[in-house]
């Protein structure tokens, strides 16, 4: 018999995933029609039981479900060895706080760069990584000297790392000679020679010039200090330290449909608020799960949703969600009490007492659970 048809007919309201799993399972077990119907009925019932009921305090439940495990993180985090090959990314509680606070600058921004099919080899991945990783002069220099007699600066180039990065000496010279500058770079006996345009340069200025040259950008994308090639389940990808999503997406070989940044704000700028929500969700949930704690995604979803409902990222806390609460009393009871009270009195705000905190303060029933409903009956007044 056609289980799929049966399932679609009997339980349309169930989500796609549940239905397909149901069908798979029924096919495995090869159920009769009566058995199949019973199973579908039971599944529907079980699904209904899993749903939240009206008046359920999902915010509090989510808050508790995330923060209780987070208290355990405090004790265990901090000294976790960095992930693959030296790219050390903030993990654990500090990372979680960073996400939830919607920080403008992230401690260790990073990207997951995915590759197009043509570049699905180690060489291909390395090639792309070299295009992305920012190479400065100092990365390819083994030794630097100041020739006091001729007043020039000399650099010995590291040919091995040049090969690895895919740069030639000529390219180095031409890159050094780009833009406004006070010197001319030349190649001489495998050395790079920096000849100042000014004849009478002081040694101090020469020193300054040397440092400037050392910092000169040669290749790659600015702001990305590391790019590590990794293979997971046969797929090559690149993990970076430092982000510049906009430019990375344009690099040849990068799959722009899947490449993401770990910085929600950057994701919002490049892809929009929905992508930002998904970043908060994914990063937040992964941070918790990495610590060996089990938190249902739906709790993190609620957090990600509240942080992004109005198309802008809001932090959970004084300057975000909590600061925008509708109730004066609720805001005042959470940090900077005096400011909220004075501002409310100046504006003449009205507190409708619609939410939980306010009602706890004045000791009224909280509009949650059994307190949701306002119908009441007094048996004494006939």
């Amino acid at each position: 018999m056609d289980y799929e048809e049966k399932v679609d007919e009997m339980c349309e309201e169930l989500p796609e995933k549940v239905r397909s799993r149901l069908v798979d399972r029924m096919e495995d077990e090869d159920l009769s029609e009566a058995e199949a119907e019973e199973l579908i009925e039971n599944t529907k019932e079980a699904y209904d039981k899993c749903k939240f009921e009206p008046g359920e305090a999902i915010g509090v439940v989510s808050a508790q479900s995330i923060s209780e495990p987070a208290t355990q993180m405090t004790m265990r985090t901090y000294h976790v060895a960095g992930s693959a090959q030296g790219v050390e990314i903030t993990q654990g509680l500090p990372r979680l706080i960073e996400i939830v606070d919607a920080r403008k600058t992230i401690k260790t921004p990073s990207m997951d760069v995915y590759l197009k099919d043509d570049y699905q080899t180690e060489e291909g991945a390395r090639e792309v990584a070299n295009e992305i990783r920012e190479t400065k002069m100092l990365d390819v220099v083994t030794e630097d000297r100041i020739d006091l007699l001729n007043l020039v600066v000399e650099f010995d180039l590291d040919t091995d790392s040049l090969d690895n990065i895919g740069l030639s000496e000529e390219e180095v010279i031409s890159n050094l000679n780009k833009g406004r500058r006070k010197y001319e770079a030349e190649s001489e006996d495998g050395m790079v020679k920096i000849v100042p345009k000014e004849d009478d340069i002081s040694v101090r200025d020469l020193q300054k010039m040397k440092n400037k040259v050392m910092d000169k950008h040669l290749k790659g994308i600015k702001g990305i200090s590391q790019a590590v090639v990794t293979e997971t389940d046969g797929e090559w990808s690149i993990q970076t330290l430092g982000t510049n999503l906009k430019k990375v997406l344009k690099v040849e070989g990068v799959d722009p449909t899947r490449t993401v940044s770990g910085d929600p704000r950057e994701m919002q700028k490049v892809f929009g608020i929905e992508a930002c929500r998904n970043t908060i969700l994914k990063e937040g949930h992964e941070t918790i799960m990495e610590q060996g704690l089990d938190v249902d995604v739906r709790h993190m979803m609620l957090v990600a949703d509240t942080m992004t409902v109005d198309g802008e990222i809001k932090a959970i806390g004084r300057y975000g969600v909590a600061g925008e609460k509708g109730s004066v009393l609720a805001r005042a009871s959470f940090e900077v009490t005096v400011r909220h009270l004075t501002e409310a009195s100046i504006k003449g705000e009205v507190d409708e007492l619609n939410s939980t905190v306010e009602n706890v303060i004045i000791n009224q029933t909280v509009p949650v659970g059994t307190g949701m409903y306002e119908v009441s009956y007094n048996p004494q007044t006939e």
């Binding site: 305090a57 009195s345 004045i362």
Partner: protein, 599 residues
């Protein structure tokens, strides 16, 4: 150049640090310098630190020269005969007091056999590396280190015989164990610190056995008959004092039975124990809340206009028995303070018979509370009719690795059967083999196990049970000090919320996180009920949204703003919220309440 510091202050430099330090030490030994001098050459920091000040922890070590300790048999003999004293040994430089920093420069041998050419000192006894309490633990070298720490810590919490003149003393709080015993299995430290004169525990028969499951999670099953015979019985003493203070203006406290018209007069019953002088006589049964010393004081703020003579102008400040305590008045002490004020001290004595929940421990850090008091006739017995006083759960042993306690069981058994104390001094105590041999000689199994018979059915138990004698300590944490419950009770003046703490008969706070939990469950009504401890009903003016005032003269409730009473409605709210509104008003914020009918 090496810097030289004396008591932390820079005093100079030297080219020959080693020689300098050696010279300081030699001068100390020959008496040129006081023996309080301690010097250390810190090679890493390139400095010499010499300390002579107070507050350093120092310990005595015997000097070793050329692989031979300076303390010889000869010295020991002389000390035994009284020809030499400890101070002579120190003066002669045989024994030195070493502080923590100088010890870093030394190589100390724990025992004589281990001395090499390199050693500079030797311990007087290897157990000297332990403190007093830690070296009171028998067989500690068989225990895990942390267990010794726990055991040593709990030795400090035991009830015992702390002072022989306790009936004369007026300590604020003290406990006396009724039938203290010195331990059968003991260490040399016990003798050295004269703990035999101040024992703090009792030797009891312990069986390692699970019995009815009441010794789960470290609980103890205690033989009720043993308790009735006096096991772990103790007395708790608390001294209350009352001072007849003098105040400015020639007024003073008055000790005596207060008159009925004194402000804050208690019930007549509360004063019923007092004799004419206003003090409780000795050996009177007293309950909590009773007055021990009747006292009145002048009023704190004398009103300007109304100055009425008589007792109405005094307030009651009697000394009463603490909440939850009671007992018998033990002694009454009349004295004077330094300022010449009359001073009354009343000591109360309360019997503390072991009860469910009282805490006990062995010296090995094995602590537990009483889980069951079982009559002797129901407890298992041996063929000789021995029943255990304490049944310990065997699950407490493997994970904690207190092998020393198992040895104590054996040693205690040997001690009890042979009538001799067993030496269990750290590192030098009796060996397991010897104990086993002695047990065998005494006609018992060498592994300490015995056949037991079920106390209720009389059947022989299938397994042999490890049973012997262990020194048990009663600790100062007793349920009667901690038990606390409240349904109604006192509230604080400001917030009308319940008081906090057992001493004030307080409530148990339903805190912020507990509140979240109620919300998470959607239990709004329960939450409201729980938070109703400070609920008040206030008249509110519907028009102005402020609290109305009751005018007793006119017999009406009137709004202070519109001065009318027709719009006033009663509203329930928490008193804390009313306080918030009051505070806002005091800061010139007008919090207006918009009231509607709820139906």
């Amino acid at each position: 150049m090496t810097d030289v510091f004396l008591n932390g202050k820079f005093v100079g430099e030297t080219e020959q640090p080693k020689e300098l330090v050696r010279e300081v030490r030699e001068k100390r030994r020959d008496g040129t310098l006081p023996e309080e001098f301690n010097a250390r050459y810190n090679v890493d920091e390139e400095n010499i630190r010499i300390n002579t000040d107070s507050g350093r922890v120092r310990r005595p070590l015997v000097r070793v020269e050329d692989g031979e300790p300076l303390l010889t048999e000869e010295h020991v003999e002389k000390i035994k005969e009284g020809e030499m004293k400890w101070s002579d040994l120190v003066e002669e430089g045989i024994i030195e007091w070493i502080d923590a920093s100088e010890e870093e420069d030394l190589l100390v041998a724990p025992r004589e056999e281990e001395i090499t050419e390199k050693h500079t000192h030797i311990e007087i006894h290897p157990a000297n590396i332990l403190g007093i309490n830690a070296s009171l633990v028998p067989f500690p070298e068989y225990n895990r280190g942390d267990r010794i720490s726990y055991g040593a810590k709990m030795i400090g919490q035991t009830l015992g015989f702390y002072s022989a003149n306790y009936p004369l003393r007026a300590d604020t709080k003290s406990n006396i164990l009724s039938y203290p015993q010195t331990p059968l299995v003991t260490t040399q430290t016990e003798e050295a610190v004269e703990l035999e004169k101040h024992p703090a525990g009792q030797n009891v028969v312990v069986a390692l056995l699970s019995y009815k499951g009441f010794n789960i999670e470290d609980a103890l099953i205690v033989n009720r008959s043993s308790v009735e015979r006096g096991f772990a019985r103790s007395y708790f003493f608390r001294t209350y004092d009352a001072e007849k203070q003098r105040y400015s203006g020639g007024q003073e406290d008055d000790i005596g039975i207060p008159d009925k018209d004194v402000r804050g007069y208690r019930s007549e019953e509360a004063y019923s124990h007092l004799s004419e002088d206003g003090v409780v006589p000795p050996e009177v049964d007293i309950e909590s809340g009773d007055v021990l010393v009747g006292k009145t004081s002048p009023l704190r703020f004398m009103g300007t206009g109304e100055f009425v003579t008589g007792m109405q102008n005094r307030r009651e400040t009697s000394v009463t028995v603490r909440h939850g305590e009671g007992g018998v008045s033990d002694k009454v002490l009349l004295s004077e303070t330094e300022d010449g004020n009359k001073l009354v001290k009343v000591t109360l004595r309360e019997k503390r018979v072991p009860e469910l929940g009282d805490k006990f421990a062995t010296r090995h850090g094995q602590k537990g509370v009483i889980g069951l008091l079982e009559p002797e006739e129901d407890l298992p017995f041996t063929k000789d009719g021995v029943t255990p006083d304490v049944i310990l759960n065997p699950h407490g042993i493997p994970s904690r690795q207190t092998v020393g306690q198992l040895l104590e069981v054996l040693a205690g058994k040997v001690g009890a059967l042979s009538g001799q104390k067993v030496d269990a001094t750290p590192f030098t105590g009796e060996k397991e083999e010897d104990l086993r041999e002695k047990l065998r000689e005494l006609g018992f199994r060498s592994d300490g196990k015995e056949v037991l018979y079920n106390g209720t059915t009389g059947e022989m138990m299938e397994a042999e049970i490890f049973q012997g004698i262990v020194y048990y300590e009663k600790l100062e944490h007793m349920v009667s000090n901690k038990i606390h419950a409240r349904s109604r009770g006192p509230v604080t003046l400001l917030t009308k919320q319940p008081t906090e703490g057992r001493a004030k008969e307080g409530g148990l706070r339903l805190g912020e996180m507990e509140k979240d939990c109620f919300i998470g469950h959607g239990a709004s009504m329960t939450l409201k009920e729980r938070f109703s401890s400070d609920e008040v009903t206030l008249p509110i003016c519907k028009e102005c949204g402020v609290i109305a005032v009751e005018d007793e003269n006119k017999g009406e409730v009137r709004c202070p703003m519109c001065e009318e009473s027709e719009h006033v409605e009663d509203v329930e709210m928490s008193y804390a919220f009313k306080l918030l509104l009051d505070e806002l008003k005091s800061m010139t914020i007008y919090p207006k309440m918009n009231i509607e009918e709820s139906v």
